[in-house]
Symmetry: C2
Subunit: 436 residues, 2 copies
């Protein structure tokens, strides 16, 4: 790619306080700098934009005083919205209005999971971006984790047989007995939606649906706030002798049935730091009729954690004689010999790496046929099967990247999790992944 | 104890087909032969009684041709009912009627969990035995497991701090992809109540309530029959090429809140033999603010399995200076040093041992004050605090043995588990452990 064909990215909400965006988006774009550059930055206060450009030496980036001016810069291909807890919906709408008015060529809008605006607003946003022919991306980046992708392959190729049951246990920092004094307040405000259900469970259950290739048919949940006060601690974990009220939940129990195979899924997500000597902070056990997968992480955040994937199962012969293929849905096993293997890249920086792979998949999509934005589906695409517009949804296909419609399916699941707890009912969620 | 003061046991339903009763009750009584002897046996067919007396060399036992005659033998102190899948309620009622009519001195009636009669019938039975002043015992014998008792002690003395959350995963044989040809049919008949909910989950959740000292306030469940056909296999596990229909469930998802501490409990119980390379067939994780307990078993049957108990936590000073006791509910820790220990008796035969300890606790109760049936409570009893009749309920106290009222509390929980699944609702079960 020549310099001119770089995908030019404008950021809304990148500033020095937004440490997660710096660690994920900015570092990721550095890793894919052959395809992307950061060209523009907008914050409500332009000084914040100037500061971050200076701090990160973003030499190609301009600080814009208004969203209108950022959009009217015709060289911007992609706008990334990073809220860091601040309300962001109005900014998104303003960008869309400006794109429409100026018939601007902005092709990609990227949003971070989880959304700090309502499901209705998210649905409106999905419709509006589709009207405008804009390709959306949502950073459900665990779908780009090499461990999650490998697990998905092993499940799809039959290496563990038919899935029998799944257990998930996660430990979410922030919501335990202690609170870091420097923690941003929005982590403890329900409206910011960085709570244990929307954010921690959301990322994890999306990864689980992606791996298994199935949404849920039925769910039930219980949500707890058993730790109504946290002890403030300094960076070293020393108590500062002050208690602070916590209103957001610290525990989620979730159980459900996957549509595919009616598989039982049991899930327990808890606030940070009960002692957990004998288990990791994230454990996903997938039991099949011919083998198991176990995914472990030191931190309970699947989308940014380096993981370990264990596989016990059978070798699948992917090169079995195609002149005599097995009946549909059946698999040819090389032998009945057991395979026992694990996958771990010791130096893999998942915080950056998963996001870099997300950007890379956008570049791959964009690059196809040597052009820009050829409207190629991130779904399993053949040369004969190129859709004529932006791709509405990745679904649970391996390829591509999650879009706003994928995020809507997840958002509806999260809303049903809250609802199940609130009304004390098991809920049918078979249809929430349908188009809006 | 002299020979004359042995507790004389009559068995209803002990026969050669009842292999579990032979392996548990009979072997257990051999271990406590200083206190018990098998004196009488009744089966509908007297030849079955004669056969088992011969096979087990039960030299002190008489085969009775009728329940009436068995009861009228005034030397019988205790009658044990073992159904082995056969309907047993009428026999129990017949025994009770005969006891009433003959003003017989039978003091103990022992029943096996789970009951193959209805909750209403069990409640009637509880009332009737109380009227007659008979002490009931139910073989929820995991309460006698040394691992469960040790875990209960560690929880009660504060060694893991305050419980934060619990996860349970169990694997129940019988209900998986294969069925042993020799398996008795009643395992696959709902009325026999040897299903995954009543039997496997029932024993396990009773142990959990006992360990934590808490019943549930709220529960929700999903029950599956994902394996509607099983492959018949021989003793070596080789397929016999035949499929057999299975109507009983093979998976239970359960979640709930303990009354004490509002603790979230997540539970997944599954049919036998999905591959489970990376976990044991029974795993209970109890996470506390100062430590963890992990209980593991090779088989998913907590009441008859040898277990391993892992403890990570803090040393509690049980001998802390009593002249300056800590505030109520607080604990003095020797140090903040971590303890890491595990408990495992390699040669412990839990199948026999737990039941033997159950019988031993009856003998201890019976022996107190050097008399027989002194009506001493299996609850935490002091010399000043001796109840005046049979003990209605053990509750979740450490000492004693579970009675029919304990089993009723469990039966009601099990019925609510079925109901929650059937009506798709989260249920309040705060009051099910109350007296009937």
């Amino acid at each position: 790619m020549t310099q001119n064909s770089l995908i030019k990215v404008g950021f809304v909400g990148l500033n020095s306080a937004n440490t997660l965006a710096i660690k994920t988006h900015c570092q990721a774009i550095l890793q894919v700098s052959a395809d992307f550059e950061i060209s523009a930055i907008y914050n409500d206060n332009i000084q914040e934009s100037l500061n971050i450009i200076d701090r990160l030496s973003l030499q190609d980036a301009t600080a814009y005083p208004s969203l209108k001016q950022l959009v009217s810069n015709s060289s911007i291909d992609m706008i990334v919205f990073s809220s860091n807890g601040r309300p962001i919906y109005d900014s998104i709408m303003s960008v869309l209005d400006n794109i429409r008015e100026e018939e601007n060529q902005v092709k990609y809008l990227m949003f971070e999971w989880s959304f700090n605006f309502s499901l209705k607003e998210a649905e409106f946003l999905a419709n509006k971006t589709m009207e405008l022919g804009i390709q959306t991306i949502v950073s459900l980046q665990s779908r780009k984790s090499p461990y999650i992708i490998r697990a998905k392959e092993l499940i799809e190729d039959g290496s563990i047989g038919k899935i029998n049951s799944i257990e998930v246990a996660g430990n979410a920092n922030w919501f335990g007995y202690e609170r870091l004094q420097k923690s941003p307040a929005f982590l403890y405000e329900m409206n910011a939606r960085r709570d244990i259900v929307s954010y921690c469970f959301g990322h994890t259950i999306d990864a689980l649906e992606y791996m298994t290739g199935s949404y849920f048919s039925t769910i039930s949940s219980m949500i707890f706030n058993n730790i109504p006060e946290q002890t403030l601690v300094d960076d070293m974990g020393n108590s500062l002798g002050t208690k602070i009220v916590k209103n957001v939940p610290d525990h989620l129990l979730f159980q459900g049935k996957l549509i595919k195979g009616n598989v039982p899924v049991s899930c327990s997500f808890k606030g940070g730091k009960p002692t957990k000597k004998f288990t990791k902070n994230l454990v996903i056990d997938i039991h099949g009729t011919r083998g198991d997968l176990k995914i472990e992480g030191d931190a309970g955040f699947i989308e940014i954690s380096n993981l370990v994937l264990y596989h016990s199962g059978v070798k699948v012969d992917l090169n079995a004689d195609m002149e005599d293929p097995p009946p549909a849905g059946q698999v040819i096993y090389n032998t009945e010999d057991e395979v026992l293997e694990f996958f771990h890249y010791r130096n893999y920086n998942a915080l950056v790496g998963n996001m870099a792979k997300m950007y890379q998949s956008i570049a791959n999509f964009d690059d196809r046929k040597n052009g820009r934005f050829q409207n190629v589906s991130p779904l399993a695409v053949t040369e004969q099967n190129i859709p004529s517009g932006p791709v509405p949804i990745q679904g649970l296909q391996a390829d591509g990247f999650p879009t706003l419609l994928d995020a809507l399916a997840l958002y509806r699941l999260v809303e049903n999790v809250y609802k199940s707890n609130a009304i004390g009912a098991t809920l049918n969620v078979s249809n929430i992944a349908q188009y809006p």
